[in-house]
Amino acid sequence: MTNQTETQASAAIKVEDLVTHYGSTRILDHVNMQVNTGEIMVIMGGSGSGKSTLLRYMLGLHQATSGSIKLLGHDITKISSQEMDDLRKNMGVSFQGGALFNSMTVGQNVCLPLHEHTTLDENTIQIMGRMKLSVVNLGGFDDLMPAQLSGGMIKRAALARAIVMDPKLLFFDEPSAGLDPVAAAELDDLILRIRKALNTTIVVVTHDLDSTFRIADRITVLDKGKILMIGTVEEVRNSDNERIQSLLNREARHVEINADEYLKELTGQKE
């Protein structure tokens, strides 16, 4: 069912046979996935599963070993840096820590992409920035400095900056990390409202199950750099895959030891 859904819908993001390494260690192992236009895809997995790595490659921050990543039809493993810069105008990113500039006001942070990438009149830019702060319920906070905001407010300010250019693609790295349950639920609601209003294609990397089940249209489950499953919330919930059930039930990971590999690793002989 999933594959049929993917082929019939228009792909905003298509990852094909992606292989990546850090040094000699393979991180992503022949990953294939598609995110359809207007879809919210949650990428989940345990620590070290490769989910944040997959996000960074989708953002064009690293060069893949092999495979392709198409964003809005452009293969970012092949395009020039100028073409990537143009493509980034259609991409919004909300990083885990917010990544606001502490020396700038909240309003200046939010408007930064508009100053960098457009020639719009300053009045237009300022109104756009305030509108986006209003969207994330931070209306009137534009003159504050990031240090004056709570963790949840910083996340929302970062989201305002991520959507200030009305991106077609929106990426979140652990949006609910460090938030209390109410703030996390509010952020989930915002993500859903943005998708509904703007038909934005959204990719969320998280290990927060509550958030995943609230917002996901489909879920990609990664484990040890490989895709275990791509499916709807119900399909993932009902999966009989042992590893997926461990993730859902928050069970401790069973450590598999390959004696030879482990010995080489301890003695520094692993290639």
Binding site: D121, I127, M128, M165, A197
Partner: protein, 117 residues
């Protein structure tokens, strides 16, 4: 209809029942907004009540909405009327996201607006 080939936004302005009615056509986005903004602000500067008809606008982004906000504020400053008519569900969704559906006066048509005023 305006045929400025440099702008992706086309428009025509009619004088109807005491209003300047601006009918935009096409997409009002980062590229079209500067032109659309100029058209809106010129209507307000001419001290006329203004209605923006968005029935032929297939897409409006935040920059276009910001120009509507700026036009509305200038009109209010000059005690002029400023309203939106014929907006699509997609445009309404964009306005609702920023809570602007509670700010603008929105009507289904110019006739409805005139009856309401």
């Amino acid at each position: 209809m305006n045929n400025n080939s440099d702008s992706p936004v086309k428009f025509e302005i009619d004088d109807e029942q005491g209003y300047l009615v601006v009918r935009f056509e096409g997409e009002i986005d980062l590229y079209g907004t500067p032109h659309a903004r100029e058209v809106i602000l010129n209507c307000i500067k001419s001290k006329r009540n203004t209605v923006i008809d968005l029935s032929a606008v297939s897409y409006i982004d935040s920059s276009g909405v910001a120009s509507l906000v700026e036009g509305y504020q200038l009109a209010k400053n000059d005690k002029l009327e400023f309203g939106l008519v014929n907006i699509s569900d997609a445009v309404l969704s964009v306005l609702q996201l920023a809570h602007l559906d509670k700010v603008f006066t929105i009507h289904a048509s110019l006739d409805e607006r005139i009856q309401a005023s």
